[in-house]
């Protein structure tokens, strides 16, 4: 039992797992570039991965790839736990060293970041590419009601995909075009704010993201009808693990930075002492 735990915590296993992960990811990158898999990868972006995995319509090979990727990450996670467990007490009791202890903490934070990343795939909800005009309402699975109160669009309605184009005045259009949205539950308004492209509306874990504006489908059949207001293209999402993920990620970077400062001349000093 102890032998197995020691094997699971070795650096050799870390290396083998990382090499396998790299090969697995390379396989994913290759199939991502193939036309046959384009739609399947896109479907992974439109819903929460929990739903995508349970949906029978998805590409089987892609699901195998994803499950394999998660499996390898689990091995890496176990390796991290066993390695940390075996070294933690050794560093604390036998050979305390500030930089080593800090690196141990960085590894633990990395584990939390990876967990937060995975939780983002599985928890909450995600509704992609919702076309909502003024007065448009969307109800989420947890009973929240997102209503578009007003839409202000400063661009040309007949120009295709204004917000994601590259016209020179895009920045100005972005700053003056918005969709005012309200979030309610049980008939009570909880929050109201303006959503801009790249500046979403947030209420606790719920996020209303304005991806851009699109032309509405005209009922009159006149596609150049200037009286028509554009509709917003929204993503409504909820990720309960997001705040923790966004907190731990920079903490991990900071930890590595402090570690680097502590060890910048360490090897050189050791060498000098040895000589």
């Amino acid at each position: 039992m102890r032998m197995n735990a020691e094997k699971l915590g070795t650096l050799s296993l870390t290396t083998i797992t990382l090499v396998t992960l790299l090969l697995w990811l390379a396989w994913g990158i290759i199939i991502n570039g193939l036309d046959a898999f384009y739609k399947s990868f896109e479907s992974m972006n439109t819903v929460l991965l929990r739903e995508w995995l349970l949906n029978r319509q998805g590409d089987f090979l892609l699901k195998v790839w994803f499950v394999g990727l998660c499996g390898l990450m689990v091995v890496l996670g176990m390796n991290l736990i066993f390695c940390t467990w075996s070294r933690f007490f050794w560093i604390l009791r036998v050979n305390f060293n500030a930089s080593r202890f800090l690196m141990l903490m960085v590894h633990l934070v990395f584990g939390l970041v990876a967990l937060g990343h995975f939780a983002g795939f599985m928890l909450g909800y995600r509704y992609e590419d919702l076309r909502l005009g003024e007065g448009g309402v969307f109800r989420t699975s947890d009973g929240h009601e997102i209503r578009v109160e007003t839409i202000q669009w400063a661009g040309d309605i007949n120009a295709p995909r204004q917000t994601h184009g590259n016209a020179p005045k895009q920045g100005q259009i972005r700053e003056t075009s918005f969709a005012e949205t309200s979030i309610s539950k049980g008939g009570r308004e909880l929050h109201r704010d303006k959503a801009y492209t790249l500046a979403p509306v947030r209420y606790h874990d719920i996020q209303v993201t304005l991806k851009g504006f699109v032309r509405p489908v005209p009922s009159s059949g006149n596609r150049k009808d200037q009286s028509l207001k554009p509709v917003g293209l929204f993503v409504i999402s909820k990720n309960p693990a997001l705040r923790l993920f966004l907190f731990f990620y920079p903490l991990m970077i900071l930890g590595i930075a402090v570690y680097l400062v502590l060890t910048w001349h360490e090897t050189q000093q050791k060498t000098i002492k040895r000589v």
Partner: protein, 247 residues
């Protein structure tokens, strides 16, 4: 303005190239002068791109590689070996010239302005990436020289140490770029991850860096293997940057 940008690119290219020849001929004073002129003209090219484009030059490959060569040359002068190890200078110049050679195939013009370029996190994403590549290339120069110097070197040699320090600093810049990218994606698409080439390739770089820092063993052959993978890291990043620009 366009012709001045092109001219400064070629002048800088030529100066760095002549600097490398002088290094091979061990004419170190001439090499330093030529590299300094190359660095100055490289800086002029960046300023011209900034003025012509109306935005800091980080957004497409021509701009980011020019920024990267500028950072790399600066590192060579300010963080390089004070004793003037001409071998490191040689590898730094080879790397700069490789980036300049790649840019021969790209339009010598500023990136067109896009609506998201005004957002700070988008700027940071690109700027930190250029910084990360510059630092990783500087690290590679030390790792390559460590590999060339052979088995006679002792454990924890200065070259290996510098390679490790700058690779770790490059990794910090890369992670900072990734964090900016996460904020960008979250604000633009409602999630911090997308299943596409950009994100998968970023994850590849991150795992690759993790691999370099987790090679087991405390002996010379382990250090040599770390040096080999570390030196190849910047090549991986250049390859991904080129393929992303083509996508």
């Amino acid at each position: 303005m366009q012709e001045y940008i092109t001219l400064s690119y070629f002048v800088s290219f030529a100066c760095y190239g002549l600097g490398l020849i002088a290094t091979f001929l061990k004419q170190m004073r001439a090499a330093t002068s030529l590299t300094l002129i190359g660095l100055a003209v490289n800086g002029v090219a960046l300023v011209l791109l900034w003025v012509a484009g109306g935005q800091f030059p980080v957004f497409h490959l021509f701009e980011s590689f020019l920024l990267c060569t500028f950072i790399l040359a600066l590192l060579h002068f300010f963080a390089g070996d004070k004793a003037g190890d001409h071998n490191i200078a040689k590898w730094v110049l080879v790397e700069i010239l490789i980036l300049f050679a790649v840019l021969l195939f790209y339009p010598k013009s500023p990136a067109p302005h896009r609506y998201h370029h005004d957002a700070l996190f988008v700027f940071f994403f690109h700027a930190f990436r250029a910084g990360a590549l510059g630092l990783m290339l500087f690290s590679s120069a030390h790792y390559i020289q460590f590999l060339i110097d052979g088995k006679g070197l002792r454990l924890g040699h200065e070259l290996f140490r510098k390679g490790r320090d700058f690779l770790l600093l490059g990794a910090i810049f890369f992670l900072a770029s990734e964090y900016s990218g996460i904020i960008w994606c979250l604000n633009g698409w409602g999630d911090f991850w997308r299943w596409n080439y950009g994100f998968l390739s970023s994850a590849f770089i991150m795992l690759y860096l993790m691999l370099v820092f987790h090679i087991p063993g405390k002996h010379l052959s382990a250090e040599r293997f770390t040096s080999l993978t570390g030196a190849l890291g910047s090549l991986v990043m250049i390859g991904i940057a080129i393929s992303r620009s083509a996508a």
